[in-house]
Amino acid sequence: MEVTNAIDCNGLSAAPTLLRIKQALVGLVDDALPLEILVDADCDRDRLRRSLGLQGDAVRLVSRPQ
């Protein structure tokens, strides 16, 4: 999958990933959403989604094919 303009979170564990997403979402206008977030293939997406709460709707979690 070709991913452009994604926020790269590769290599980050859960807490810094969440911080990065929250930082990216600050000040972003609605039509730039959903934001693509590039995460490690082994990232626990369910946990991340739960942590994001309502902000989860504003992002799409994707990972690079291995």
């Binding site: 590769n10 290599g11 980050l12 810094p16 990065r20 600050v26 000040g27």
Partner: protein, 311 residues
């Protein structure tokens, strides 16, 4: 600040012996080399076995580490540069006075050099065995995007924290400019940018970097692992938090995690005592400072050596 007479430094001593004689020139725009961060760094460098190595220092400051590497660690030669072009000129003068007989082994890369972003710096790095650096790990309090994030967490910038000290760039980096690097989210974007460049231009070189461990040592180790390096701690010391440096950066990271279920995954590591027996989160540390700005706070500074996994 104490005078240093390098001729009277017993070999194997990392902290220069204060004595009458030569002392480095330290104008206000330079990071004070008597700071415990530099002392910690030099103890780590001493343990790294650098005899005969070709070394490059990114962010050379006053040149105190260059003189130390040449005089005390037996480096084959040392190159170095800094973002502030005045510093490399200062470093040349200081190396000439602190290590006169070895000053010809110092190869300065002049001008304003961010990381290793000039042809000359990259050419030097390509013939280097070890790259050393102690770079800012806190986003500039005046950064526009960081300010927006701070406001979203309802964290106030303490009075005076946004003011620019003469050595501002020794403490803070332009946060948004390094946002392509994932570890920027915890203040390690500038350091990660350097690791990327080293991987590209000196793929077999080791790195030795000095870190404040306020963000937690685990995350710093993850930074190296994620970038293809195997880290190891060479030395660490508990130092007093610099009274002039803003810690609200760390407070807003903790606050942003509140209520997410991940708050225990990132708790900043401050201490109320020099013995590091009473840990404090950044929020607890900031509360103490709000009550009394002179409250002494401490944190670990550690020197990490990292070798490229692929080499």
């Amino acid at each position: 600040m104490p005078d240093l007479n390098v001729d009277e430094m017993p070999s194997g001593t990392s902290v220069p012996v204060p004595a009458k004689g030569v002392s480095p020139e330290v104008p206000d725009f330079a990071f004070d080399p008597t700071d415990p961060w530099t002392e910690t760094f030099q103890k780590g460098l001493e343990r790294a076995g650098l005899s005969g190595k070709r070394i490059y220092e990114v962010g050379i400051g006053t040149g105190t580490n260059v003189a130390f590497l040449l005089r005390m660690c037996g480096a084959a030669h040392v190159s170095g540069s800094d973002l502030d072009p005045r510093l490399v000129v200062l470093a040349e003068r200081n190396v000439r006075s602190l290590a006169p007989e070895k000053a010809n082994l110092f190869h300065p890369v002049r001008g304003a050099v961010s990381l290793i972003d000039t042809e000359e710096a990259r050419a030097r790095i390509a013939e280097t065995d070890v790259i050393i650096a102690c770079l800012p790990q806190v986003g500039d309090p005046g950064d526009r995007r960081l300010t927006a994030f701070r406001k979203a967490q309802a964290v106030e910038l303490p009075e005076g924290a946004g003011e620019k000290a003469d050595d501002h760039i020794a403490h803070y980096y332009p946060w948004a400019a390094f946002d392509e690097y994932p570890f920027n989210s915890v203040g390690l974007g500038l350091n990660e940018a350097l690791l990327h460049r080293i991987r590209d231009h000196a793929p077999t070189a080791q790195v030795i970097m000095n870190f404040g461990c306020r963000i937690g040592t685990d995350i710093i180790f993850e930074l190296f692992e994620a970038n293809g390096f195997r880290p190891e701690k060479l030395h660490s010391q508990i130092v007093r938090q610099d009274a002039g440096t803003d810690i609200s950066f760390f407070v807003m990271l903790e606050k942003a995690l509140r209520g997410t279920g991940l708050e225990k995954d990132l708790v900043c590591a401050f201490f109320a005592d020099e013995g590091a027996l009473r840990p404090l989160s950044a929020s607890e540390a900031q509360d103490l400072l709000d009550r009394d700005p002179d409250t002494p706070l401490y944190h670990e500074v550690c020197v990490i050596r990292a070798v490229p996994v692929a080499a």
